[in-house]
Symmetry: C2
Subunit: 430 residues, 2 copies
């Protein structure tokens, strides 16, 4: 990679997610050279991916060009690259576009879907961690309805209109809610010749409550909201396999479905070379100290989902969400500047800003430190907070216009099959 | 296809473009059954595709769900289908999802890129007739700049930053203008470590003027605007071949380029079974009479790009553009209702509403019947007209927000490589 070496120390950041971008912003205009590597040329606002899948938003409005985030930073270099190996002895990365030395390395590679070793589920299910995946899911949902029109086989039609979402975390809950709204508001209008009451939305959660990590009130209320919307909530049920047509469970029930969305968990996106058993812990996360330093290294750090910083309050690390990632990235930025000035670093302190999930029109649950509320006010708060955290004025405006429109018109206009998914699948299987 | 036969006559429309949609709208709420077939579930506003390719707009805001256009029409059926054969004797269509009988058939299948038989150009060049194609071009342009950063081979870098657009019609002119704006406004900011002056935009036109079909003033002014923007305009030059790295011409020059956009012409998208030499004419268009009836048939019609209606003023048929398509569709709707009431049909009369093209910020050319103008006022008119003809309030709002933002900020934020194109290409070639 032809990036000039200057007198400034070189900090390489792997990953332009919440953590990586927060860090890079903090380091901008400082006397350091920053190289940010990412597989995509955009930062992606993951919390709204489910709205892309359900036709409520276009993908371009929840993504933001990474180059633009840091455009006025003269010592900043972005490269579209896939990091393949971290050589911790030589302080060097190997990527698909060549190798790169570093003085400091920050791994902010995030997380990926965790199939818990089940390769059949991995092959046949849909995930919703990236924009292309979300678009594939959007296409599949719409293609299913189109296909349901064509078949006279009742079982097949049922399977096409039966949606199974595995995982009752925020992603699963929000997707289930959005699908239920589509069933109620859009299907009857778009498919008057289809009995859309047959569309079933199943949310399967292995434990006894939804939105684990939020309060009992939020969890219960989310469940109530979903049931009111007609979602079948299955608790204490685990999907054990899915062959592309039937999802088996550890209970008495099996689901005949053409669409299984796997939102049951994530794991750290480890990179070879920095995956030693001595510091990789549960969920493929890298153990770091309170300064985000990877155990055993002075100059290698990890932040965000990939990092596991153990505290008394969070004995298995902070939740794999935007807030800890942003705060760790920002804090590490400060600490790196201190480090370079030979000042002592300050330990990370997590400010819990609360958590929230939306279930559908006028329905959300919000947990703040001393204040929990649910319903329409929570829904407004949810929207405001998500607009606020979106990067870019244009994105905010476009998302806002879409939300206002969707709200007033009970509609989701981005129900477009731009890249058919089933075709791709067929080609893939050949 | 399980569409119930009712007592109403069945009108099947192939294609949900400008002509097909205008026709279906006219027939809505009448005593007919309408079946609309299209390969996509959306209507696509082709005149703005070049803005998708150049990161100015998201694809979702220039597409509109076909089902939604006709949602309050009880006898309307849409099917996502590829028509493979028209059996004119049995009055039946064969499609990838089964066959379908018709009482009346309207072919509004539009046009596709015309490579004039050059399969190597077809294989190696980029087209811009569909949304996926436009997105592929967007990805390729951005990937080229990313790759240009990586190479130290000057020839390769030149080829990556050299864009050749073949065809000086509205598509070619508008794309060249938009690329020139990117070169000027965005590249220097996004790629400070790249000498973006090396980016070349070449527009190649086989005849001696751009925007054939518009006035001499418009043509000359468009050329002036482009040259001011730094576009190399090549007239009286024909690209004879392109092997993926060098474009040869009938002149002394050859272009070393990684990106050749073929906008040199279109031809009718003929369907087997309705492709007899007796009525297919120049450019694969179907000869129709003044009622849009295909020569030799009472109940088969063609409208839009695929139809060639010869008049004194237009001896080779109306131009393959939105206006004639919309007007023919609307007129045919009226005529079909007359036909069903056994009233005489009225012949088609084209109202020339003028034509226009935009070249870049503040620059457009407009030809109206008695009034020709160019420059900033033309540009405002261009924007207003395009917003007006976009279907859907949400689309208009989102496009408007984007345009205002892009104008004020000299920016195009949708510069996202969501589905990398080069990867796809590699897989394809394997």
């Amino acid at each position: 990679m032809n990036i000039p070496r200057t007198s400034y120390p070189r900090i390489v950041i792997i990953g332009g997610g919440f953590a990586g971008v927060a860090l890079a912003r903090k380091l901008s205009k400082q006397e350091v050279q920053v190289v940010l590597l990412d597989k995509n040329n955009y930062h992606n606002f993951q919390p709204l991916l489910y709205q892309v899948s359900t036709g409520g938003l276009e993908p371009d409005s929840i993504a933001y060009p990474i180059r633009k985030i840091l455009k006025n930073f003269p010592n900043f270099f972005f490269r579209l690259a896939n990091v393949e190996f971290i050589d911790t002895e030589k302080n060097e990365l190997r990527t698909n576009i060549g190798s790169l030395g570093f003085d400091y390395l920050v791994v902010a590679s995030g997380s990926k879907t965790n199939y818990f070793g089940n390769s059949e589920v991995e092959k046949n299910s849909m995930a919703m961690k990236t924009i292309p995946q979300s678009l594939d899911l959007r296409s599949l949902i719409l293609e299913n309805f189109e296909d349901a029109l064509l078949t006279s086989d009742l079982n097949e039609r049922n399977a096409l209109m039966n949606f199974v979402i595995v995982g009752g975390g925020p992603t699963g809950v929000e997707l289930a809610g959005a699908l239920a709204e589509i069933k109620k508001g859009i299907l009857p209008k778009d498919y008057p010749d289809l009995d859309t009451r047959m569309a079933q939305i199943n949310l399967v959660q292995s434990s006894d409550c939804l939105l684990k990590g939020m309060s009992a009130e939020a969890s219960q209320k989310a469940e109530d909201f979903l049931e009111k919307l007609g979602v079948n909530v299955w608790k204490n049920l685990r999907v054990t396999n899915y062959d592309g047509s039937v999802a088996t469970t550890n209970g008495d029930i099996a689901f005949k479905t053409q669409t299984l969305v796997w939102a049951a968990g994530v794991k750290g996106a480890l990179i070879k070379g920095l995956d030693s058993e001595s510091f990789v812990t549960r969920g493929n996360r890298i153990l770091v100290n309170e300064f985000s330093q990877v155990n055993g290294f002075e100059n290698i750090f990890a932040v965000g989902d990939i990092a596991c910083m153990v505290t008394e309050e969070f004995p298995t690390g902070y939740p794999m969400m935007a807030q800890p990632a942003i705060q760790q990235g920002t804090q590490l930025g400060d600490n790196m500047l201190r480090l370079l000035e030979k000042k002592p670093m300050t330990p990370f302190k997590y400010k819990d800003k609360g958590s929230m999930a939306t279930i559908g029109r006028n329905k959300a649950v919000v947990d703040m430190k001393n204040f929990k509320f649910q319903g329409i006010f929570a829904w407004y708060v949810w929207m405001f907070v998500h607009l606020f955290f979106l990067i870019g004025f244009r994105n905010r405006m476009v998302v806002f216009v879409n939300w206002v429109y969707n709200y007033i018109r009970f509609d989701r206009e981005a129900r477009l099959i731009i890249r058919p998914y089933k075709e791709k699948l067929k080609k893939h299987k050949k």
